[in-house]
Symmetry: C2
Subunit: 345 residues, 2 copies
């Protein structure tokens, strides 16, 4: 897939990186290891108030993500969620070959690493009988938008996990019409989320739409075709409990992992990418970086600083990729070209 720009990471900084690149007329593809955009904002503090985004008195991590997605939408970047870029090499012609674990490949003019603290990796479930189920009947932190949840409609689902990520998905599934009771399992009888979500879970339990198990997974069973048949749970008293099932959703936490980025030959300092604050270029020309993953004198890990970093990175890349377009800085308040790119006028 040929593109001017490949953005790695769909957190707030990656989303604004894509916005600035698109505004400059560059084509953009976005890749993120998670199934949904938002990065840390959605995974770590989706409902926490953020009070220091300039001009936004208060917003949650989820709201900020939604605002940035809306702002980006008219520029129509390509999306590759649930993908992790594993290989990145610079070609002799100065362009880049990037490849994902599943083989998706990009031919990019410039690369933007907005990977925050790294690619979020779900904590894996370990039990006999799970081999080959992932991606088919075993789902780690699936996206929570209605379209993504629709695949679970009418299916017997067990959600494993005890915090907000698990509870949100369990509650959303239990709200689908004609859904069999959703099974929720956590190793302890203590669930952690805000009061409103806990109350929602309580109501669902009382009405029988959700069944909670304080238990641990002992094993899973598949038929010869590799379809999930049932799971065996171990209860606190040591007894066994079998659950007939179609799908397993696992939300046992996400851990960021710098992963393959560390192998791309980019200069690093304490696990951060060293960048030039004039261009936010890494040590490899054409690979830029912005957000929590970068290091430069004075760096503060604030979202608003990442917005600036992404902006200068976009301009530097634009100058390199389109030297003939060099001209005065255009403003969205006065430039018909920019307004048109954003679907105005």
């Amino acid at each position: 897939m040929q593109t001017d720009a490949l953005v790695i990471g769909a957190g707030p900084v990656g989303l604004f990186q894509a916005f600035q690149l698109g505004l400059l007329g560059l084509s953009v593809q976005i890749v993120d290891a998670l199934a949904q955009a938002g990065g840390q904002c959605v995974e770590l503090y989706a409902d926490k108030p953020i009070l220091d985004i300039p001009g936004i008195v208060e917003c949650s991590g989820r709201e900020l993500t939604e605002r940035l997605l809306t702002q980006l939408a008219p520029l129509a970047p390509g999306w590759h969620l649930g993908h992790e870029v594993t290989g990145l090499t610079r070609r002799d012609d100065g362009r880049f070959d990037a490849v994902c674990a599943d083989g998706t490949a990009f031919d990019a003019g410039a690369v933007f690493v907005c990977a925050g603290v790294g690619a979020f990796q779900p904590r894996r479930l370990k039990a006999p009988g799970l081999d080959g189920l992932e991606g088919r009947h075993l789902h780690y932190h699936p996206a929570t938008d209605p379209a993504a949840l629709a695949r679970f409609a009418g299916r017997r689902v067990l959600v494993i996990g005890g915090d907000e990520a698990a509870l949100l998905r369990a509650a959303a599934l239990a709200g689908l019409p004609d859904q069999p009771p959703v099974q929720l399992m956590h190793r302890r009888d203590v669930l952690q989320a805000d009061a409103a979500l806990l109350a929602r879970i309580d109501t669902l339990r009382q009405t029988g739409r959700l069944v909670f198990h304080a238990a641990q997974l002992a094993a899973a069973r598949q038929d010869e075709a590799g379809r999930l048949l049932q799971v065996d749970l171990t209860l606190p008293d040591g007894s066994a409990h079998a659950l007939a099932l179609d799908e397993l959703i696992v939300c046992q936490g996400l851990s960021p992992r710098l992963g393959p980025i560390a192998d791309w030959g980019l200069a690093m300092e304490r696990k951060l990418l060293v960048v030039d604050p004039a261009t936010f270029s890494t040590s490899v020309p054409g690979i830029h970086a912005a957000g929590d993953i970068v290091s430069y004198p004075g760096k503060k890990k604030l979202i608003l600083c990442g917005f600036h970093e992404a902006t200068l990175a976009a301009h530097a890349a634009h100058e390199r990729l389109r030297p003939h377009e060099r001209g005065p800085l255009l403003y969205t308040s006065s430039s018909a070209v920019l307004q048109q790119r954003l679907g105005r006028g």
Copy 2:
């Protein structure tokens, strides 16, 4: 007046500069040459759409200003609008003496020059008989909030000017209850503003609440006590027209002027302040700068970049002024201290 921080300029970057300083627990005084906050955002593109503030799909310059003022409000900085800092000297103890044209003086720990393209100066009215009227009965670009306009209630007012700034003030005055007809004068019978404002002016003319004169000011007359009595206008055909008056409002344009800032001994480059992009310190330790007035490698004159610059400037100043408070970066989403400063929890 003693303060940790003196912010020069109340445009978007100055407002966010004050926000970041207040968030770090520093006391802040804000000075701006104009009668209202907003700077270029309000004076040059109050109603133009800005489309590239991260997370704000669209806002006008005026809306952005209002949002930043709301965000800043809980930190309660001191305000000095309509003031221009003329003198700034560094004392031997590392603090600063700043003084305004009217004698207002500050003893500041650090100074932040967020002056954009300079202090906006109104184009002055020239005619015999105006001496001594300014600030009493002659008002250049007065603030447009209801409280500020209240001083003109029931007064016979002539507004001079033909663009949005003049028309907005004329229309606002004509909308006051029991107001004598507002006189509007411009040298040509062509007014410039958006269609909605022009339509509003037309309606006011048709209902007699506003009277338009294509004319030029020949002279003003005062009584012995220095009260404005009348102005003499010269019509296009050379004839004279006298208007009995109480107040003169003049909106004939604003020109930015770097002014005294150029005399403070700060390193400059093409009329811009040279800053270190790690601290946004000028060449004088303790004087920082952010926004359109600064120069550093890669600088783009974008509002969102000014927000970042102001943030790093605030942190650098905080480290210098409160070295004992040095600690890990706090986040508004998790720090009770920051939330409390912003009036939450």
